[in-house]
Symmetry: C2
Subunit: 342 residues, 2 copies
DNA sequence: CTGAAAGCGCTTACAG
DNA sequence: CTGAAAGCGCTTACAG
């Protein structure tokens, strides 16, 4: 049987309450006594029982709010699945998790929901920020003034006092892809980079990592100027058509954002999908279909489930177990997938 | 606030005890009443509180035994790390997990420990079986006669009544590697396969998957006869030297088991480590060193942490929450790693 | 500065 | 066939 607070209390000749105060630095305990209690707890190898703690905390009715943007995209849907799993888990432990889903990217919407959450007495917030001074300001205020901890996921906003960011490391992701691309095209020839919106930071860091790695370790690979398809398949197809007309000797295409379908349909129409190596991001259904057809050769995944699950669970551990994250960054795994290990 | 048993009991006009019996099919409840209770619980969206359940179960002092073989190998050490993490978690919820580590592979040792566990009243066992009729017999007896559930991890033994296997899918792992190998050597030329012990089933299925995929989709790749280095670096180096003498035009080497160091040291001595593409298994420290040096190009991982963590947690859910695994197979992710996404 | 007591939601012997 | 009660290990108002 595991050691309990009561056993420590008995051995120290005090009450459970006092042991609790000594162990959790709550003050109001004679210093020597506190030291003695800590000593005994170490000796006995005390580990707090999580179930007991969760039960006791349930009385407080702790509430976590999660704000999600761009819910219309398939990738974010996978993130939401992770949030819902965490919600189930937290609620089966006596907490409350409410998910607020909004379409598109709009910092003001996020700020409005944050205000509502504050009014309704939520104890912690997880959100997916976009680049916005107002949002940064609001986040700082929530953390510093209102003492409501905030965690960011999928995208980050620095210098806001947010506790932790859970998401991908764009630079490493781009480097990983570059190494793979270099290897599968035999380290030579032209490569086209098709990105999404030119203002999307997260895509830009991928491209940055990709270009840096190609320049450093694959000198015989020629990178064409990056193209921006604004996450639209019509545009990504158009771009591919145009570039292929000008550069029929392209050996590889790197699809950085959404838009794989447009690129692949162009290659298939020209019957060159087996000749040109294609790497795309995110294990969404549409991409997987082209992977199965050998039109996309590799997919780079960023573990959307974890991006949804972890923020909520991290806040649970913070509120229920007073456990803070070890690092302010929690990068999700960079997955390399073929049709055989999907 | 979440719905509790008490709320259902109040609404149905019975006691908590009766609700429990109705919801968990424990009998001794009037059929119509049971139906009414189930109806109410659905209506209210009842979900049992895991913390409450864990607390109540703690009284039973449920004990899980985990038997690990070949603990001297670095890969299994990573598995043990996963078991220890699960042990911490289960024990902080009021259960007990004891880990029994034995060197080498010996079915009789495993059987002896199983007997001890039975004598000491353990409630469930996770083990890493080797091919053995006696062990298969013992497992069947434990499951059927003693009603002690068993879960296998890392390696499996079928038709033993074991509840679930947690580990890799060797065939898919081999296929994944073959696709990657084909791509990075330009789908042509000679490939050498260096395996471990020729009697190791798990390695043999990897080779099987690898060869099947090469034959099917990479017709211009020439596979040399597989070599067996018995998981020894001296032998793997010797083999590589010999084969390279006979086939200086080799383009790729697939290291299936332990022995990457021997192969790499040979390539480095001949200064051809950048010319020949090398893929090896398992993210152990030794392999990672050669990956960082670009001598090994890709590592295929099989998530040892999950192989240790999941069996224990699965048995916890079984004992504490009466939740059985959905499938008798739980395959771990097949990871493709370069030095950039390790 | 310290303690006795209630209660979180569940399971389970024990009565009836 | 059903209920009242105890207890799992913790936290926290409330007393003193």
């Amino acid at each position: 049987m595991a050691v309990t607070l009561q056993q420590i209390a008995d051995k120290a000749g005090v009450s459970r309450r006092t042991v609790d105060r000594a162990l959790n630095n709550k003050g109001h305990v004679n210093l020597e006594l506190a030291e003695k209690i800590i000593e005994i707890s170490k000796e006995l190898g005390y580990m707090p029982n999580k179930a007991g703690r969760a039960m006791a905390m349930a009385k407080r009715n702790l509430k976590i709010g999660v704000i999600v943007q761009a819910v219309e995209t398939p990738f974010i849907q996978d993130v939401v699945a992770g949030i819902e799993d965490a919600k189930l888990k937290v609620e089966s432990l006596g907490g409350t998790v409410d998910i607020f889903q909004t379409p598109g990217i709009n910092a003001n919407t996020t700020i409005e929901i944050m205000e509502t959450l504050k009014r309704k007495g939520y104890h912690a917030i997880a959100l997916m920020p976009s680049e916005s001074k107002e949002l940064a300001l609001a986040m700082r205020c929530f953390v510093k003034e209102y003492k409501i901890p905030i965690v960011t996921f999928n995208s980050d906003l620095e210098n806001t006092g947010r506790l932790c960011f859970i998401g991908q490391n764009g630079i490493r992701s781009g480097r990983t892809t570059a190494r793979l691309m270099g290897d599968i095209i035999g380290n030579q020839g032209k490569v086209l980079v098709v990105s999404g919106e030119s203002t999307n930071n997260s895509l830009n860091t991928r491209v940055e990592g990709f270009e840096a790695e190609i320049k450093k370790n694959h000198p015989n690979v020629i990178l064409l100027e990056p193209q921006y398809a604004n996450d639209q398949n019509e545009l990504s197809r158009e771009i591919t058509e145009k570039i292929l007309d000008g550069h029929p000797d392209i050996r590889g295409i790197y699809i950085v954002g959404y838009g794989g379908k447009g690129v692949c349909d162009c290659l298939i129409a020209r019957k060159i999908e087996k000749k040109i190596k294609v790497i795309a991001h995110d294990l969404i259904e549409e991409n997987i279909r082209y992977l199965e057809k050998d039109c996309i050769d590799y997919l780079i995944g960023q573990d959307p489930f974890v991006q949804g699950y972890e923020p909520t669970m991290l806040l649970y551990r913070l509120l229920f177990e007073s456990v803070s994250p070890k690092s302010p960054y929690r990068y999700t795994d960079i997955l390399i997938k073929t049709k055989y290990n999907i």
